[in-house]
Amino acid sequence: MNVRRAAFSAALTASTAIVIAFLLLPVVAIFVDVPPGQLLDGLRSDAAAEALRVTVKTNVIALALVLLFGTPAAYQLARRRFRGRALVVTLVELPLVLPPAVAGVGLLAAFGTLGLLGGTLDALGVSIAFTQTAVVMAVAFVASPFYIRTAIAAFEAVDPALLDAARTLGAGPGRVFVRVALPLAASGLGAGAALAFARGVGEFGATIMFAGSLRGVTQTLSLAIYELFDVDFDAALAVSALLVVVSGTLLLVAKLLPTWTRSPSTFLSGSVRSTSS
């Protein structure tokens, strides 16, 4: 019996070791293959610098849009109980599991020149193809479910009694949302935003299909890696290393945010007091 127990425990340890080694080795290899000094040189290349600029700009805009529209939508979906709610939530989550190539084809079929809305957009004089707008749309499409999912959970975790209390104390629904629900769900929303941003920064498939790849315009860091890897592997490694650091930081933020602000009693009383004042 003891032998069996030891064998099981050893098997668990071995599996864990294999999982960690397999998942970490490629990440470690990126940093081992090139010395740090060379990594910095690689980042100073024009292609990398421009790709960084494009990535930051498009992702900040995409995240702003996701927050602007996603937060009220998530609040609505978390608060209201209606028929087909589960279906709506599932539909919102769909891009999460959709292959990026499918996202690219879908965006082309909807907003492409020959797509569903292509004629309408054309009549309005709007051409999305190959612009940073296309990058922003691709990023927002694949990243928003990461935010909205987490945001729904964060709003659901807010005690409805607190929202009702604010209402009885005379706050309108808008004021309850801004002054009570938002602060209470803030850490969850922040975590969701960090995850969405990380997914957006890594977006590749939908972008190259829908927005193309042009240095300084639509070429993001992920696309730059793809263009560089056979020409200048060191530069591709450098850009990859940068993305590892950025993604790792975002994951850490998403993990730590909820724990940083976990002092509900003070938090709640503070918010409620401010709404009633």
Binding site: S213, L214, D230
Partner: protein
């Protein structure tokens, strides 16, 4: 008795033939060969892509038996480094300017690119079709139109896709690509004097386990049926 013996012999011969059937080869080939190769020989396994990226994969030890490049640059570099056997030229191609069938930018000649406001798509400078495009533009003294490029694509089929979908107004591709997608795009000719020399080379990968079979397969490329199919697809044959 005689019949049984004959049947036995036939069976033995058949099984012998089955055992001697050549192995399935893995062929890494330039994207512009996407349509014609399976037509020449549907039994092999193909991986199509930009010649530069395929060459990089061969360098990284990809399990290719045969490498077919749209430019001698990549086969010769691999040959020099001892990674492939001596390359052979097996066909040639020409560049054209491709436009969507509806031709939204109203291009009639390649020179219209200078005047009109067009969304132009080209290959990256590294992929053969992209470097040929830059040669053409230099010969035409039209390198300034590169400012109208809205996307640099990793291989020629991505360029064709962007034009076929009407996302882009024009792009430089091979004449064979237009034939393969003639229901959606059409070609505007480039003057012969501005044409680059587009030669395709094929080589056996040294690390292949089926080198003899790969050599035999390559030899068949220069035989009647393969040549007919290449020519019918628009490739040039010596």
């Amino acid at each position: 008795m005689k019949l049984a013996l004959a049947a036995c012999t036939a069976l033995v011969l058949a099984s012998g033939a089955a055992a001697a059937e050549p192995p399935q080869l893995t062929v890494y080939a330039a994207a512009s060969l996407t349509e014609v190769l399976p037509r020449i020989d549907a039994r092999q396994r193909y991986s199509f892509g930009g010649s530069n990226q395929l060459a990089f994969q061969v360098r990284q030890g990809a399990p290719a038996d045969v490498f077919m490049s749209a430019s001698p640059e990549f086969t010769q570099a691999l040959f020099k480094d001892g990674l492939v056997e001596r390359p052979h030229r097996f066909c040639s191609n020409k560049l054209v300017l491709a436009v969507p069938r509806s031709n939204p930018a109203g291009l009639r000649t390649v020179f219209d690119l200078k005047r009109k406001d067009v969304k132009l798509v080209v290959g990256t400078a590294r992929v053969p079709v992209g470097s040929y495009t830059r040669i053409v533009l230099r010969k035409l003294a039209m390198t300034s139109v590169l400012t109208k490029v809205v996307s640099e694509e990793p291989d020629v089929k991505s360029i064709v896709g962007k034009i076929a979908l009407g996302q882009a107004d024009a792009g430089f591709v091979y004449t064979t690509d237009v034939r393969a997608a003639s229901d959606r795009i059409r070609a505007i000719a480039i003057p012969p004097w501005a044409q680059p020399k587009v030669h395709y080379e094929v080589a056996v990968v040294r690390s292949s386990e089926h080198r003899a079979a790969a050599r035999a397969w390559i030899a068949r490329l220069s035989q009647g049926r393969a040549r007919r199919l290449l020519r019918a697809s628009g490739f040039g044959i010596k």
